[in-house]
Symmetry: C2
């Protein structure tokens, strides 16, 4: 959460904008993967079948240049599954018990693509970004928020110009799914950059509020109930209308800490295990509304839990204050 989202979005935009097969790109010789020296594994994810590597390429002068290489196995493609079953190069029985059996299946190369991403040359910052970090849980009281988190947010002055560009129709105007233009209780609903909109399985949209002074959950009071109810109601309706996904199949929530301090609400497909939907970060909008209806000052009283990576500056602030 301590990083401004702008670089991430910017890079994603650039990547999206880069023609995958344009002549210039195709003319560039491939990165010399085979000549790479492997320095270490930065991180791996057994669940996602991905691994993040720190490599080094030696120049003719003998000096090494760092690179990050990300390998990720690709999802199965429905239309190729039958090929996989028929064209395997080897099938080894591993165990058999009653009606259950397991095998090792070795597919031909053309059916086992690995998505490979290279960052080269990579800086120390790139290496840090992909390195596995210890994660610490913080239980932030209202006093902690005032004494540690709020000063930290204010000192960072993250740029959220990209949010204003969307609200002012200076960018992404063609991507808007729904808009309520009311300056106090209105919002704009756009697809999140993580969603490519080609399948509904990983549907992901974001509602950005028109008001600019609400940083996060911590600022919300009963005054904001009309705004929050608009987002819940109109957001569901717009998604049902445009994508055919009913409100009962949506997970609608806020993050605390958010990755940028302009109030926004996440809409994800309920069946999709979206990053950031776990209990230590996500707050259901319906619960937020009920909490504020019960007690206008709920979020100025209650302790809130969140996780911070060991390299995040906010964690250092909590440590300096003796709160971790």
């Amino acid at each position: 959460m301590a990083e401004s989202p702008r670089p991430k979005r910017k890079r994603e935009e650039e990547e999206a904008g880069a023609a995958p097969h344009d002549g210039a790109a195709a003319a560039v010789p491939p990165f010399p993967l085979a000549e790479l020296r492997l320095r270490r594994v930065l991180r791996e994810s057994a669940r996602d079948k991905a691994v993040f590597l720190h490599g080094e390429v030696s120049s003719p002068s003998g000096e090494g240049t760092d690179a990050v290489i990300i390998l990720e196995k690709t999802p199965f493609q429905e239309e190729k599954v039958l090929d996989l079953l028929k064209k395997h190069t080897k099938l080894e029985l591993q165990m058999r018990n009653d009606i259950y059996s397991t095998y090792h299946l070795y597919p031909p190369p053309e059916l086992s693509e690995i998505k490979t991403t290279v960052v080269y040359p990579a800086t120390e910052k790139h290496l840090q970004k992909y390195l596995r970090q210890e994660v610490h849980l913080i239980r932030e009281t209202w006093e902690d928020y005032q004494n540690i988190t709020l000063p930290f947010i204010q000192s960072q002055s993250f740029s959220i110009q990209w949010v204003y560009n969307i609200l002012e129709k200076k960018a992404e105007a063609d991507r808007i799914i729904h808009e309520n233009p009311d300056p106090c209780n209105g919002f704009v609903l756009v697809p999140d950059f993580k969603w490519n909109q080609t399948q509904l399985d990983d549907l992901y949209l974001i509602a950005l509020v028109q008001r600019r002074e609400i940083k996060s959950l911590r600022d919300l009071t009963a005054e904001h109930l009309p705004l929050l109810r608009n987002i819940l109601q109109e957001g569901k309706e717009a998604i049902a209308k445009r994508f055919g996904v009913p409100g009962s199949q949506l997970r609608i929530y806020l993050h605390y800490q958010p990755s940028y301090y302009h109030l926004h609400v996440h809409f994800t497909a309920l069946g999709y295990d979206a990053p950031g939907c776990s209990v230590e970060r996500a707050h259901l909008l319906a619960d937020v509304i009920d909490n504020l209806a019960m007690d206008s000052m709920y979020y100025q009283k209650r302790a809130l839990t969140f996780a911070l990576r060991a390299d995040e500056l906010l964690l250092k602030k909590f440590q300096e204050a003796g709160r971790v």
Copy 2:
């Protein structure tokens, strides 16, 4: 949540007990994967890189027998990553932009194993189990709980004898990590069956309360605060002592709905994306304690959200009551 956990536990024990390489199994000819007719894709997971298939094997008489085939790509093995980079059969540049480039890498068969699980012959129940089910979000009011959920729980009379066996030391006594024997405010902490205890990455323990009349979150009042605080405090201490994982790296929560109606608390590694830790099912124990300290009747007043699969009986009850 509508299924008693006992069968699942039993099945896992049986599967774990099957010798992977016993002579009898090795002598059985492999399942004729290549002769399989593909009926349909039951479910796929783009994130896990897994697909669940419904297949059919024709007998000589022409009659078909159903089978379930599960394909799952395997995690990268650290010691083979270098081979993957050096021995790829083909490397295609996909796009290049500044320091970023992406490739399609096609590894040789021996480096791209697919874990294949076959259930054969498969019954309709097996097919249903693996079939993608629509998931519906329920917002259960206290009235819904009293009128729909509670009568449903009472009508099911799930057996939780296995819980009593643990509490009475008739089973798993050697697995107990910590015990507070107080009949009112005590509990037993045991490793969850999903965790094999060989690595801390996916650490998973369960605290089972000694008291037998607390079904779920819905029954909790301020009366239970000493019990809940014992679980939070002693659970953290016991895990730090036995496994060296500090409390700040644990996610400690209850499920609603739970999978069995004897109050229990989940302890999972914060870095582990445990199933069931998302915001629509998990409730942080620290939040539960604060809510009860604020209002003893909090969980007898508030609406609670949870997801139900289309084949769950409780969903039918909500539908019959016109609440979905």
